[in-house]
């Protein structure tokens, strides 16, 4: 059935599918690992059981999300070779070492301390357990550091030469390659996005339980912490996104042209197109609602500054405008909704109604998944906006794929789609079920094992089981 299809298109769909599914989990676990570290630190500092309960509540969810991140991540580390072997051969000498550093400094750190974090609370002291939690949290950040360096180098490649075999080989100090021009911006923007994503998910869970019982102290605490994050970090993120956009304008102007929907050049001030329908055939944006000269003002800080359009780019070097145009608007729109939610919560806080305003809680529930959508929309914007290149300006996507037959790629794509929807659908369902249970005192750990048959107390919370320290039994 795939004989008629293009192996390249199938490989691109497969990469987009597997990486999109994958990134949902790190976006959550980067933020959640830090949140867990904060909760445990607060518990150690204040001695309040509330923080330990919240820690254990979110630890169960973290365990499920992290497992899905790990298994979908291993797929990614092999996708480069199975489906993009020419790219791997050519770019391996530059990006391979950065990815090896990710494994050596991040993956092992996370995996090595995850067992202690999940199961080791009764086996090591409090301080050592907190150290394990910190190591996992730091590991998620280091992982983001390296993989975003790789990704950024593919957008803004520097410090390389091309050898006789056509390979990109390092030709500058490694610091120059690692800290390539778009990397600092992308790192800041992505890590903040992960924190915001987690904050909104935590806030939604807190809001859900506040609607049922506004006196639940655990729900109050998590909602309050999440809304602080939304109020304080959303504006920072909008600023960081703007900086990232200016960096993109400098290094990948065609991407910004597609984001803005600027088919034509504007010699004396370009309008900001708020909404409209890109029309690739006619090379214009239909039904455009625009603010005159605002785009030049934002991008050049001068309303009359000239801005080049896609008419300056050869047709076969243009990214697909409609996808980039829309995904960018989805991301920015959600960003401002997050800011709105944060400001609303500040107002409620000032009026001492943070736990009373049901419409605020309902809005927070609605915004629960918004971080995930914004993150995916952001990645679509930057990755599709890089097309038709894998290594911007130097290696075409069409020249990067493995020499595979279309049926092989098609069959594996189908297998990934079926397995991912089934497995990660089930996992998401389990996370939602865990989150639907109200957080309560004496929260159970990941797996409770006592004498007799093993019991998973997380499934049937039942009556208080006492603090784990009391139920350690003969251990």
């Amino acid at each position: 059935m795939f004989d008629q299809m293009d192996a390249l298109i199938l490989a691109r769909i497969q990469f987009a599918f597997t990486v999109s599914f994958h990134f949902i989990f790190p976006a959550f676990s980067i933020g959640l690992a830090s949140y867990l570290a904060v909760l445990e630190a607060l518990w150690l500092k204040t001695g309040k059981a509330l923080y330990l309960d919240l820690f254990k509540y979110w630890l169960k969810i973290f365990a499920v999300a992290f497992a899905m991140g790990v298994v979908s991540g291993i797929v990614m580390s092999y996708q480069f070779g199975t489906n993009w072997s020419v790219f791997s051969d050519k770019a391996g000498p530059v990006i391979g070492p950065l990815m090896a550093y990710e494994v050596l400094t991040a993956f092992f750190l996370e995996a090595g301390f995850l067992g202690v974090m999940l199961f080791g609370m009764q086996r090591v002291g409090k301080g050592l357990h907190f150290a394990a939690t910190l190591m996992v949290a730091i590991g998620t950040f280091i992982s983001a550091f390296w993989i975003l360096s790789v990704n950024s180098w593919m957008h803004t490649p520097v410090g390389f030469a091309i050898n006789a075999d056509g390979q990109f080989v390092p030709a500058a100090p490694w610091t120059q390659i690692v800290f390539n021009p778009s990397f600092p911006y992308r790192l800041v923007h992505t890590v903040i996005a992960a924190y915001l994503t987690t904050a909104l998910a935590v806030g939604a869970v807190g809001a859900w339980h506040l609607l049922k019982d506004k006196g639940n102290p655990h729900a109050r605490k998590m909602f309050s912490m999440a809304m602080w994050m939304a109020a304080l970090v959303a504006p920072v993120q909008i600023f960081a996104g703007d900086m990232h956009g200016l960096n993109t304008l400098e290094h990948q102007p065609a991407k910004v042209m597609a984001m803005e929907g600027h088919y034509d050049s504007h010699p004396d001030g370009a309008p900001l197109i708020l909404l409209g329908i890109p029309n690739p055939e006619e090379k214009r944006v239909d039904y455009a609602i625009e603010i005159p000269k605002a785009s030049s003002l934002i991008l050049k800080h001068d309303p009359n500054a000239p801005l080049a359009g896609l008419d300056t780019i050869p047709d076969d070097r243009e990214p697909p405008v409609a996808i980039v145009f829309w995904s960018f608007r989805i991301m920015v729109g959600i960003g401002f909704l997050m800011l709105g939610l944060g400001l609303w919560s500040l107002l409620a806080r000032v009026r001492k109604k943070l736990y009373d305003w049901h419409w605020l809680h309902r809005a927070a529930i609605l915004m629960g998944p918004s971080g995930f959508i914004a993150v995916l929309a952001g990645w679509v914007t930057t990755e599709v906006g890089r097309q038709p290149y894998t290594i911007y300006g130097h290696l075409l996507t069409a020249d990067s794929a493995s020499p595979l037959a279309a049926p092989a790629v098609g069959a594996s794509l189908m297998a990934f789609v079926i397995v991912y929807f089934f497995v990660f659908g089930a996992g998401t369902w389990y996370i939602l079920r865990l989150a639907a249970k109200a957080p309560h005192p004496h929260e159970a750990g990941v797996i409770e094992q006592e004498d007799g048959p093993i019991r998973t107390a997380g499934i049937t919370p039942g009556p208080a089981q006492g603090h784990p320290a009391d139920t350690r039994g003969g251990a």
Partner: protein
């Protein structure tokens, strides 16, 4: 001078990758082996104990696979670019198997109503991953078509009777590692079951190893000359003796008082097999086609990574040992909570 330095670095990197692959094979080998044996344990305490024995460590064990793959791309990009498309189907199957195996650890606790299903996924995923890894090994040994800098064969070339044999052999060997690991780490009913399995898995592994070893020299000229022409003959004579000796003491140690001994001797069987593989293919990375020097990344890449690997691998081994130490002792006896 430059070439000499690079050549040495290339050899070092070949050993680093071989170490990562070996670490993966023995560490995740016992995880996957326990997955393979899982349905043969009684539902309830025996199964739960078997899984708890590896729950805190499987993720770290699997990470060696990422280092093997990622390291290959970084140190030998040409080999990575040739081998992965050549083994497309078995590798995708392995990855999907690892997806089911990995999530089952968490999902079976979260969904008692469907625990039987996730237990099945745990075994099915482990079996698929183990078999695919064996096929991968066999396909590499039997040779893959290369033209220029790319794989030039079809996407079913890997499927031969020999790769079926290596697939089954790896499953048998992993099952042995899993059973002996459980003898070491558990007691009571789980250990009784594991001992029962190990009693027939030891001879089965020796037979599987013997079959693969007997078939390999007849695949291509290179292997025959390596093993049956002096000086390779020096390794050929003692190897079967060492294998049979290790297996004999592993087998007699199963009921003995030292529960760790069968596992250590099973590890030794794997070590001997990997030394044998090294003798067969050195210094090629794609046997008979691409040598480690043909595939090596430039010196600048190798040096940069070697600094990281030289510092980090000892640190990783230290905290991995710490993690195993935290969960030391018999799993069934004192649980994790």
């Amino acid at each position: 001078m430059d070439l000499a330095v690079n050549a040495d670095l290339t050899v070092i990197w070949a050993f680093v990758i071989a170490f990562a692959v070996a670490a993966y094979v023995v560490l995740d080998g016992f995880d996957l082996g326990i997955g393979l044996l899982f349905p043969f344990f009684r539902v309830g305490k025996e199964r739960d104990t078997a899984m708890n024995a590896i729950a805190p460590v499987w993720d770290g064990n699997e990470t060696w696979l990422v280092l093997g793959g990622g390291g290959l791309m970084a140190a030998f990009p040409l080999a990575y670019a040739v081998i992965l498309p050549a083994l497309y189907a078995p590798l995708i199957a392995m990855l999907l198997g690892l997806v089911f195996r990995g999530v089952a650890f968490e999902f079976r606790w979260r969904d008692p109503r469907h625990r039987a299903f996730w237990d099945f996924a745990f075994t099915g995923g482990s079996a698929l991953a183990a078999f695919a890894q064996g096929v991968t090994l066999g396909a590499l040994l039997q040779g893959i078509d290369v033209e220029g800098r790319a794989y030039a064969g079809g996407w079913w070339d890997w499927a031969t009777p020999f790769t079926l044999l290596t697939g089954l052999a790896i499953m048998t060997g992993y099952a042995l590692l899993g059973a002996t690991f459980l003898i070491w780490k558990t007691d009571g009913g789980t250990r009784d079951d594991a001992r029962r399995f190990a009693r027939w898995l030891v001879p089965a592994t020796v037979v599987a190893l013997g079959a693969v070893s007997a078939a390999t020299p007849f695949l291509e000229g290179q292997y025959y000359e390596r093993w049956f022409v002096f000086p390779g003959l020096l390794a050929t004579v003692p190897m079967p003796l060492l294998v049979v000796g290790s297996a004999y003491f592993a087998w007699t140690g199963i009921g003995g008082g030292r529960d760790g001994l069968p596992f250590l001797l099973s590890l030794n069987l794997f070590l001997l097999s990997m030394i044998g593989l090294g003798i067969s293919i050195w210094p090629d990375i794609v046997p008979g086609r691409i040598s480690i020097w043909d595939a090596a990344a430039p010196e600048k890449s190798q040096v940069f990574m070697l600094i990281g690997a030289g510092i980090m691998i000892p640190v990783i081994l230290a905290y991995t040992a710490f993690s195993y130490w935290v969960f030391r002792g018999k799993t069934g006896h004192e649980g994790y909570h």
